[in-house]
């Protein structure tokens, strides 16, 4: 450059290597030495500080390329995920080159954190520029909009001396003008702090994030920084092949990137695919890749299999994932047929399995033995003969499925238990004395006696829900702490009477027909309730039903098909009002009924102490 003026320059070197080798540094040195100009401010954008870590032997044999440089700003794009305290790394790396004046941690707007002075060893080259190091900054903020050279570098020519900020073509100035312009037309998202951008991208499928790379320089490499990968073969791909290629390329690129910048790993992985057996090798490669293997914390695999597909069996690396805390599996094989089953998931807190094959009593026992930290376990759609769930860490358990013989739960710290569709066997809850929430649904074995016994062994029970248990007739519940009770009578054709010795009950909900009655033994219990009556009944039957609810209500929500069933004509009003102490009543109906004032009148008779009455009518009829 034959110019007497000082230049301001900006160089963007977007090449990365797995390891920057000697060749790289020699080329870089040649490149820098060939910039024969007098520089004022030079911005050097590289992906990682490693690109600039010139080895010592090279430094000793070459003259300094920075002799005529005054200010150097280094920007390391791939730095935002690192902790602030690791600033010392690039500073130390560059400190060997030249004296560093300050280290600036930047967000997108260029200056959010206070600058700190870098400490470094005695620099080798004297006469070096003053250097500022920018970490995790956005390349595009100070990039020029035109180019002089044809290679990777671009030069921001500035004919003014010293002061680059007075230059109207400088993009920092441009951006400020933008902000004053029409607010609606301003790009906001690109100027969010990188942590927030990454937070947003956690909720965006990986394919969309990769496609966003063509938006602008700021977005070009963004997808490499997102610690979560999520793929759905049903959305955004023209063919299964295209999806497979996408998966492969993503893995390849992120792996290369990770080898270079070890922090850019994947901690969350979510995959939903229509699975075909030829994808097994690719998935294995993904799940066993160093990108995931030792870093993955949350993993969700959900597969749809068709026809004769064998299914995907989980690789050993996942079943022995040291960092895994959440594992969700849908339609995945737990192991290959006849293989040895070994599990070691020391950090696993939440396990969810739906349609998981090759799960038998033995495998289940081993699985739980390998998960010493498990707190929440959901097991859905299984078929087992004599399952035993034994875990001292477990707090919440939900199982849906079939146990041919008995189900045994041994979990001394269990607080919440939901059992659904458990045809077959007997439930043994010995040792689970800390249960607060118990929900039993669709059970054909529990009778009055079993229920009473079960509840008597759960002194801390607060919430109880019984649904579709067909054998129940005389339900007797004595429980000191019970606060809420829900009963769903569907599937049970008996006349059911519930007797409640529950002094602390505050909430009761019921769903079903009108062959039901409840009696509170404990005095002075005021209930808030919700009652849903399916089917149409004559008003006299409805009145009988309401009279058989021997409790005093505070708030009641009553859902019926039509207001008609709650209209009690004068001749039946000789009996005592059924909802004597009720204060607040809300009636919901599915159908519309035209006689509104009659309904109101009837409801006021039924509950003479009513303070508020709300009627919500449906649209049908």
């Amino acid at each position: 450059m034959e110019s007497p003026n000082l230049l301001n320059g900006s160089f963007e070197i977007n090449e990365w290597h797995e390891n920057y080798d000697a060749n790289w540094y020699i080329n870089l040195m040649n490149f820098l030495l060939n910039l024969n100009c007098s520089w004022n401010i030079v911005s050097l954008h590289v992906l990682s500080e490693k690109a600039l870590m010139l080895p010592e032997n090279l430094r000793r044999i070459c003259r300094s390329p920075f002799l005529n440089w005054k200010h150097l700003k280094c920007w390391f794009l791939f730095f935002p995920l690192l902790a602030v305290d690791s600033v010392s790394r690039p500073v130390a790396a560059l400190g060997g080159l030249f004296p560093i004046t300050q280290v600036q941690l930047c967000d997108s707007l260029g200056a959010s954190l206070p600058p700190s002075r870098g400490r470094c060893d005695e620099p080798i080259w004297t006469g070096s520029p003053l250097i500022e190091v920018y970490l995790g900054s956005r390349v595009h903020i100070s990039l020029p909009s035109f180019s002089m050279a044809e290679k990777k570098e671009k030069i921001l020519g500035d004919k003014n001396e010293e002061d680059s900020h007075s230059n109207p073509t400088n993009s920092v100035v441009e951006r400020n003008e933008d902000e004053n312009a029409n607010i609606a037309a301003v790009d906001r998202i690109s100027y969010l702090p990188i942590s927030l951008i990454l937070h947003i991208l956690l909720y965006v499928p990986t394919v969309d994030v990769v496609r966003m790379s063509v938006l602008s320089k700021c977005w070009k490499l963004m997808w490499y920084l997102v610690p979560k990968l999520q793929f759905n073969s049903n959305v955004g791909f023209q063919s299964q092949e295209a999806f497979n290629t996408f998966l492969e390329e993503c893995l390849l690129r992120r792996e290369i990137c990770m080898r270079h910048i070890t922090q850019l790993v994947v901690t969350k992985f979510k995959l939903h695919i229509v699975y075909s057996d030829d994808q097994a090798a690719l998935l294995d490669r993904f799940l066993c890749s160093p990108l995931l293997r030792d870093n993955i914390m949350e993993l969700k695999l959900s597969m749809i299999t068709r026809g004769t597909t064998v299914g995907y069996s989980l690789p050993d690396a996942i079943l022995n994932g040291r960092s895994l805390t959440v594992l969700k599996l849908e339609n995945v094989l737990l192991l290959e047929e006849d293989s040895k089953f070994s599990v070691n998931l020391p950090c696993l807190k939440y396990l969810y399995m739906l349609y998981v094959d090759y799960l038998d009593d033995h495998v289940l026992t081993n699985l739980l033995l390998g998960c010493p930290s498990l707190e929440k376990f959901e097991l859905k759609c299984f078929y087992l003969s004599n399952p035993r769930i034994s875990s001292s860490s477990l707090k919440s358990l939900e199982i849906t499925g079939y146990a041919r013989e008995n189900l045994q739960v041994e979990a001394i710290n269990l607080e919440s238990l939901a059992l659904i569709v458990l045809w077959g066997g007997i439930i043994n809850l010995s040792d689970c004395r800390l249960i607060r929430n118990l929900s039993i649904d669709l059970n054909s074995n529990i009778d009055d006696q079993l229920l009473e016994d079960m509840i008597s062994k759960l002194p801390l029970l607060e919430d109880l829900s019984l649904s579709r248990c067909q054998l129940l007739k005389q339900v007797k519940i004595s429980s000191e702490r019970l606060r809420s009770f829900a009963f769903d009578k569907q599937g049970n054709d008996n006349e059911v009477k519930a007797t409640m010795g529950t002094p602390n009950l505050v909430s009761f909900s019921y769903k079903g027909d009108i062959d039901f009655g409840i009696t509170m033994i404990s005095p002075n219990v005021q209930l808030n309730g919700s009652i849903v009556i399916n089917g149409s009944y004559r008003c006299i039957c409805m009145l009988n039903f309401l009279l058989s609810l021997n409790c005093s209500w505070n708030i009641l929500s009553l859902h019926v098909v039509s207001g008609k069933v709650l209209f009690f004509p004068e001749e039946v009003r000789i009996c005592p009002p059924p909802l004597a102490k009720l204060k607040h009543l809300k009636v919901k109906t599915t159908e519309r009924w035209e006689y509104k004032s009659e309904l109101r009148d009837s409801l006021h008779w039924a509950s003479p102490n009513l303070e508020t009455l709300l009627i919500e009518e449906g649209t049908e009829g």
């Binding site: 595009h140 990039l143 909720y203 790379s213 938006l215 977005w219």
Partner: protein, 163 residues
């Protein structure tokens, strides 16, 4: 513009002062939904006036409105209330323009309102998910700063992502 709140002897009131001088009087239980304020209250103890030089009054007001809703419903954690909260949240973010969304997000982040940040980032994500690149560019007014031909080059290099 200060908010009116029912005072009882047991709840402590805090004064929050925004960058433009607007002050808000809020119950401690509401304000401490924000991690940053919670920290200040725990550290400084008796200080009742908290200055927030990085947040404008308009957006602080909105953040506090969210806090109020979520603090109230925290006391009786009901499944029904969860539903109500979800609906309320949906309405809250439904018609936010991008300028408001941006400032609200910055404010929530600055004040460490973790749940609010989650809500707002998810809202932004919903504007991105499944959209074509050009739609995203249009929605967020993102200008390309690539050199001529560079975008095509990236597109070609990443062709595997566009099929």
């Amino acid at each position: 513009m200060s908010s009116s709140s029912t005072t009882t002897t047991t709840t402590r009131l805090l004064m929050l002062k925004a960058s433009d001088g607007v002050t808000f009087e809020v119950e401690e239980a509401v304000a401490t939904k924000l991690g940053a304020i919670n920290n200040m209250v725990e550290e400084e103890g008796s200080e009742d006036l908290i200055c927030l030089p990085n947040v404008n009054g308009k957006f602080l007001g909105m953040v506090l409105e969210w806090c109020k809703k979520h603090a109230n419903n925290n006391t009786n954690s009901d499944k029904g209330n969860d539903e109500v909260n979800k609906w309320w949240d949906k309405e809250f973010v439904m018609d936010l323009d991008q300028n408001t969304l941006y400032h609200l997000l910055m404010a929530a982040d600055y004040l460490s309102g973790t749940e609010l940040v989650d809500l707002l980032t998810e809202k932004v994500a919903s504007m991105i998910r499944g959209k074509k690149v050009e739609e995203i560019r249009e929605t967020f007014k993102i200008k390309s700063d690539f050199l001529p031909g560079q975008e095509e080059e990236i597109r070609k290099k990443n062709s595997w992502a566009f099929e």
